[in-house]
Symmetry: C2
Subunit: 199 residues, 2 copies
């Protein structure tokens, strides 16, 4: 059995996620197939473990899709550390989430620019880049970005570490003019690794 | 300028890393182009920030390449959180490191097996897999692994999070029969994402 992507003609399975109030998939649990803007209003205090059954999701620290972002792909997340990664500030909150629309990752495409408002030197990305600098980008920052197709996750540090920013062609017309638009938690233009989000 | 990999005929640049005793590239610093088995013997107490100039490296919690492993690719790591990622135990030590020999990532190839000693169902990997389950693997564990060509980094959780294990065809003949061989810090067969290491 080779692990290959499904042929493009296959229907996309529905996105399904199960969230648990306690670590290690214990306590009250709820299954979702679409967005949840406030887990508190669903009768849960917080989310402490997650099982993604299908699709790609993004989780948020605060309700209404605010605060730190966490990319969630199929698999098991038994505790807070497992879905966050290295973060510049530590907060064990996970209050809202939504599915991510992604193209086939073969057609994912975005532009990164040296300066804000799509100015300065630029590069087209259509692959996964664990180190932008190793692949030819000349500095540890990105000024602005435009997602032409699909969805990407951008990371503060090399090797897919640090703060995560989900960038989608379906949101803001794919335009991210300034680091202040990358997410309500973003405090720096540092971006050192970027990868496509796949179903 | 498109970010593409260098043509295969290009000579591989030497691996260069600069390590700093303080966060944010402050304090005493040393440059290395080959392995260091004990930073203490080089006159430094600990490493608290890192700049990888070229090549791919692996850092270790303890001297003599023991303890937790950290993949380090080209870029800037200003503090401990930036090079570790989400870990099941927190220890701010970084005492030894060495360069990683990797093939062109186009020819990187490994097999994963359901059970230890290369038994049970198996799959060949030759790409990056942010979620093994999304790509067809049927459980959140891997029993054993064999690296045929190049080097890979395996992660405990999806999306390249959690404990990291560096797997190289140049070490142990590429054979990793049991999770106890994946690294001296490994305490579980959980592997939910795997990617190639590139220069």
């Amino acid at each position: 059995m080779a692990l290959t992507n499904p042929p493009l003609s296959l229907p996309i399975a529905p996105s399904i996620v199960t969230v648990f109030e306690q670590e290690h998939f214990q306590g009250k649990c709820l299954e979702f197939t679409s967005e949840c803007c406030n887990i508190y209003e669903c009768g849960m205090d917080n989310i402490r473990s997650i099982r993604v059954e299908s699709g790609a999701w993004v989780g948020f620290e605060h309700h209404d899709f605010q605060g730190q972002q966490f990319i969630l792909e199929r698999g098991e997340y038994p505790n807070w550390e497992s879905y966050t990664g290295a973060l510049s500030y530590h907060t064990e909150r996970f209050m809202s989430f939504r599915p991510i629309y992604c193209a086939s990752h073969h057609s994912s495409r975005m532009m990164i620019f040296e300066r804000e408002n799509f100015m300065g030197r630029c590069s087209e990305l259509c692959d996964d880049y664990p180190s932008l600098q190793a692949m030819g980008w000349f500095m540890p920052e990105v000024g602005s970005m435009h997602v032409q197709c699909g969805a990407f996750v951008c990371y503060e540090y090399p090797g897919y570490r640090g703060q995560q920013y989900i960038m989608e062609c379906e949101r803001h017309s794919g335009d991210y003019q300034h680091w202040k638009n990358w997410g309500s938690h973003c405090q720096t233009p540092k971006i050192q690794s970027i990868r496509r989000i796949r179903h």
